[in-house]
Symmetry: C2
Subunit: 367 residues, 2 copies
């Protein structure tokens, strides 16, 4: 028996693809968006997966996202380019930009792509992994509307500005870290609120500048705390510099919220992608990463800790489980997908009913 | 009256230069080392300034550091190079490598330099600022012997792996962050121990895997905690990948301690330097950074907080004070300099006695 609310990975991808296509996107573009969102869910990162699609569909309908937007390179040099996202879905522009970074790195050893006129791009780790799957080190980052305090501030000063990297290994899955510069990403606060779960007192500070554990206060009456205080704040400004200021994108308060602001208007987000060609620069980097991972796995654990994991290891394990057994959708994700189905005039049950026993053949990582 | 133990910046630089020259380094090389260490002290980062010189002098005497070592490029492409440090003083190799990164970036837009056979390089922020002073964004990072736990580990798994960046502004000093991936760098634990100051219970975990506030237990019987748990751990592995695995340097347990291990043997540290040419890629990046800094300065502060500062702002303010009034050396730094003087057969009082009222002309940032 399949647990109700469990969906196979190919069916989740098919649902997202069909919904994006109904919103006016070309089938190849819709499939890129679907691949990013379903992979993110397969990693168990539900805050940044298909749950977000209803917001994208609303913006595609209203025109803030351009269904037929075409990202393009507007300036370039031997090891860099600037991409204008044309207000296309963030996944389309980001996949295009990381592919360009990989091309530059393959030529020059390193590639930097700055992106302007993009939008919310989902899980940064996806794009970093596009590079790792091709044997390169990848980094992905983006700016966002301010939601995070600086040390000593009473209001939001920077975005939660995601930073992700992926480093290819040989025997192991790529190392992959996808972090926000906040103690936790805002999506986790939203999820806790929707699920009615309590949050620790270290995630938010209220309008008085003091800590609060009231998830319902976010984002109207509280802001996120920066991870490790000045370190998270400092990383936020590095990301704003590379993804916003250098790329010519909107920054901080110039950016519009992809969730809260008028869906008819573009959000103007910036992003940055870096790739380094390990095959050109390094001497068997994947083999050395294997050794590093093996060494960490062999290190002694604290009492009660069964094993040490490297960044991305849990996500790749969940990915394997999702390939074999489908994804048990959390209630907030399922509710959001039903709203997406309504917007797209699709019947989610058609996709859920397909079960998880069908061959998931062909769904590998990548686009 | 000058406070005893206060030294002018030119005299501190002259002392370090003379000491390095006595250890066999060429005068130009000795001056690079002196400039890095005195600037670091002028920033108030005493854990990574001239206090460390006694350790370098011992290794220069014993041969683990090569006084006449010459860093050289051993492989390169349009936007990258690998530098072999020839076991020269870490400051020499790192300044050489960042200069190479700037050269590559000026040609290709971006430059990555991986470094092997280096040693402890002091304050990573110095090299990042070399790029910012030339109008480029600079990043600097290095690996080190394991001293930091992974989430759930009982022993050290990664180095405290410094990460620094600097971004040029126009009206303001460059943004500059220099952080370790540990909650605090080991140098701060050593300094607290030498000064007899207590430390918080969040900096270290003991051999049982539980937190300890016993600074004296470090590093023999405790390890540093990673900043923001899995985030600091994840960044440590990114830095190890770029500075160690990709550059062909020693990694984790292959590295020797520059303080604790046989001074006759090289340490084998790795490092990585990145530069991005803002003038080629961006449209008035320095002006946009000015705007970002102004915006943060204008944000409301929490009760009791007089002002918000951006990364590096306090360090640059201290630098100005040091230029005008000299540096009041903390007792542990002064004691270490006296040991350096003994090793180099110099009289520190000659330099201290020069007073701070002499013109400090000519001591600007840079090499």
């Amino acid at each position: 028996m399949t647990v109700p609310g469990t969906i196979s990975l190919p069916q989740l991808r098919a649902f997202c693809l069909d919904a994006f296509e109904r919103a006016g996107m070309t089938r190849p573009d819709a499939d890129i968006g679907a691949q990013v969102l379903s992979t993110t869910d397969a990693w168990g990162v539900f805050t940044h997966g298909s749950k977000a699609m209803r917001g994208y569909l609303r913006r595609l309908q209203a025109g803030g996202l351009q269904a037929r937007g075409r990202p393009r390179i507007v300036a370039e040099g031997p090891a860099w380019a600037v991409v204008d996202g044309d207000s296309a879905l963030g996944m389309i522009t980001s996949a295009f930009a990381m592919t360009a970074a990989i091309d530059k790195a393959t030529q020059a050893g390193v590639g930097y792509i700055g992106v302007r006129n993009s939008s919310h791009f989902g899980a940064a780790g996806y794009y970093a992994c596009l590079a790792a799957r091709r044997g390169l080190i990848g980094l992905a980052m983006a700016n966002d509307i301010p939601s995070v305090a600086a040390p000593g501030s009473r209001s939001a000063v920077t975005g939660s500005n995601p930073l992700a990297y992926a480093v290819p290994a040989r025997r192991h899955q790529p190392l992959m870290l996808d972090m926000s510069v906040a103690t936790v990403a805002g999506g986790k606060v939203y999820a806790a609120r929707e699920r009615g779960e309590p949050i620790p007192g270290t995630w938010l500070i209220g309008e008085d500048g003091l800590p609060t554990d009231d998830a319902a206060s976010y984002p109207e009456h509280s802001v996120l705390t920066p991870a490790a205080a000045h370190k998270g704040f400092g990383l936020a400004l590095l990301i704003e510099s590379l993804a916003g200021c250098l790329s010519g994108a909107a920054t901080t308060w110039q950016i519009r919220s992809w969730l809260g602001d008028d869906p008819a208007l573009p959000t103007g987000h910036g992003a940055a992608f870096l790739a380094l060609d390990c095959a050109a620069i390094g001497d068997d980097l994947p083999g050395r990463i294997d050794g590093l991972i093996d060494e960490i796995h062999a290190a002694p654990t604290a009492a009660g800790v069964p094993r040490l994991v490297v960044p991305g290891e849990i996500e790749w394990e969940r990915f394997s489980v999702a390939q074999a057994s489908g994804i048990a959708l959390p209630s907030d994700v399922l509710a959001s997908l039903r709203q997406s189905a309504e917007i797209a005039r699709l019947d989610l049950d058609d996709y859920l009913a397909a079960g998880v026993n069908q061959a998931s053949g062909g769904l590998r990582f990548g686009i």
